[in-house]
Amino acid sequence: MSIFTQLISELLGILATFVMVLPYLIGYVLLIMLTLGIWRIVRRFMTPKQDFGALKTVTFGDESAVTSNSAASVISIALIFVLWGSFTGSRWLPSVLHMPGAFQGEAGFSYTIELPDGSTQDATVDVVVFGAGETPPKLSVDEGAQSAKNDGVAIQAYRNKLLKWDANDEFSRKDGAKIIAINGQSIALDGEVFVPNLRVAVTPKGTLNIEPNKGVQMEPIWLPAPEAVKDRLVEIATAGFKNFMLVEHLGYSLFRVIVGFFFGALVGIPLGYAMGLSDWFRGWFDPIVEFMRPVPPLALIPLVIIWAGIGEVGKIILLFLAALWIMAIAARAGVSGVRISKVHAAYSLGASKWQIMRYVIVPNSLPEIFTGARVAMGVCWGTVVAAELVAAEKGAGMMIMVASKFQQTDVVILGIILIGAIGFAIDMLMRWAEKIMVPWKGRG
């Protein structure tokens, strides 16, 4: 099969998935519209806001009239948590909001067997479904007087169990006995019937496969409840994870980012200045920078591991490289972006080359450099997590990678939330620094 037909078939699979997901997407959008409608009605009963925007008659298409509605943000975040809790049966939600969960408790059914001579007999199966982590209950079953004896089975929620119903019977499958009905509904080999809270199937070999109802909640191993994640946060924060405390994991990641970024900026900014001020340097480094810029830092991970190993040095080299090109390009843009009339004015005021550099070119490039630094910090944070996924002894990425190997989904989700929160905090910090350090940005 050629690559082309392979890709086409992949694409068809993806399209099929998309079509399956589409109703959910549409439902989500409808939910957004619904809350919007409710919000509009609610707002009618509140005092209207008295700012200039409220007096604008043209808002559709006026970009400045569209500010983020904080009510929508609050509802959107709350909804995510409600959905999360609802599909995981969170204790934080009243149980009316829970989606139907997996069945737990007692159930049962009867089965009818037919013997070779054509006679039939009935027996019952008691089923107890217990939660994960609970000890399986011991069942005491009254086998009854008939030749097909009653059975009992304990099954863990979300699991299924094969029942050799004839193990205790006087006639076994070898003797030609076979099940013909469950709870009175007839069934053949490889068939299935639904009885209250259970799905009962007969395998091709004639045994019973009993599967308790799974409901529509997520199994904790796929998606733990929010409180489980919180509990795990408390646990890891106090007891640590894989030999290191949580602050160590996060602290190491941050340390790598800051050190890598620092050296990247330390080399990148002068490099960018040199490229902006000298045609020789520009010519020398242009091909290198333009080539390295589109190479994602992640693609360098294998090489860096080969050269520098998986220790701190390797990671910091990687982050250095991630920040270097971004900072060099930002500094270069900052220098080239200086308005020639400012430079001319400075020369006419008697400034020397060095003074032009110090008082005009450097301050003029600071806004660009700050923008570059913000981008670089974001890229570095993403890169460090990815590098730790590949190889590390500690770090946020290592934490979720190891947790995923042990199916500790709660740690994985916790890690993702922490990584997102730190990335967000870094960006906020950079914006704040920008506002303090270069208040003239965009106002020249």
Binding site: H344, Y347, S348, L349, G350, Q355, Y359, P363, V438
Partner: protein
Amino acid sequence: MTTDHGLNINNLSMRFDLPNGGSVQALKNVNLNLKSGELMSVLGPSGCGKTTLLNIIAGFLAPTEGEIQLNASTVTGPSAERGMVFQQGALFEWMSVRENVGFGPKMKGTPRGEIRETVDHLLDTVGLGDFKEKAVYELSGGMQQRVALARCLANDPDVILMDEPLGALDALTREKMQSLVLKLWKETGKTIILITHSVEEALLLGERLLVMAPRPGRIHREYRLPFADLGVDQDLREVKKHPDYAEKREEILSMIWDMEEEIMGRMEAQS
């Protein structure tokens, strides 16, 4: 005829070579003498080489022919004796108003206290006494041009070159600024060359008025006008009522109109 004092422009020509192999004759055989303390306005249709002329005087461009002498020494590059005022955007927005105005003296290494005095005095003169510590981006366009004027004056240059300094201002602010330029000219006695697109401004702010013609850029005509002297102590609106004013205005306007039409005609002929 050249004199030892003032600005002498001798047989100046400027040709720009274009990347496509052609060239533009931006200036051809320009001769001009400015005595110390003269105020000259320059008018001309777009593209006649006004900015190029000013840039050569400032020392940002080297002419292909001819030379410029200021007080008998040849201009080879920018220097503090030839100050520049640009249309806009030449202030340093990372500095306060005070730091902008004090920039020139600071570059020279003038003692701080002295800079402070000069700056305070100049900012009071241009009417920005209350805005000394403000950031320049907090000021209006007219105020920013006042800062630019003060910054230029703080350096005490021999010649002040202005390229459409009031071009980006609204009519009312512009009129106030025109009075300010006249006032500063009288008070400081500087030699000033001022490029403008407005015939009225050229009449009001030119002891001498130079009309340039394009392709190649050259001096078309020169006037000596009484209005600038009158404007020093009179309201500019009164000056405009002067009997000669309207007549001169019409004359120059139609001259520039003719040039513009000729350009259009040539463009049409080309295409």
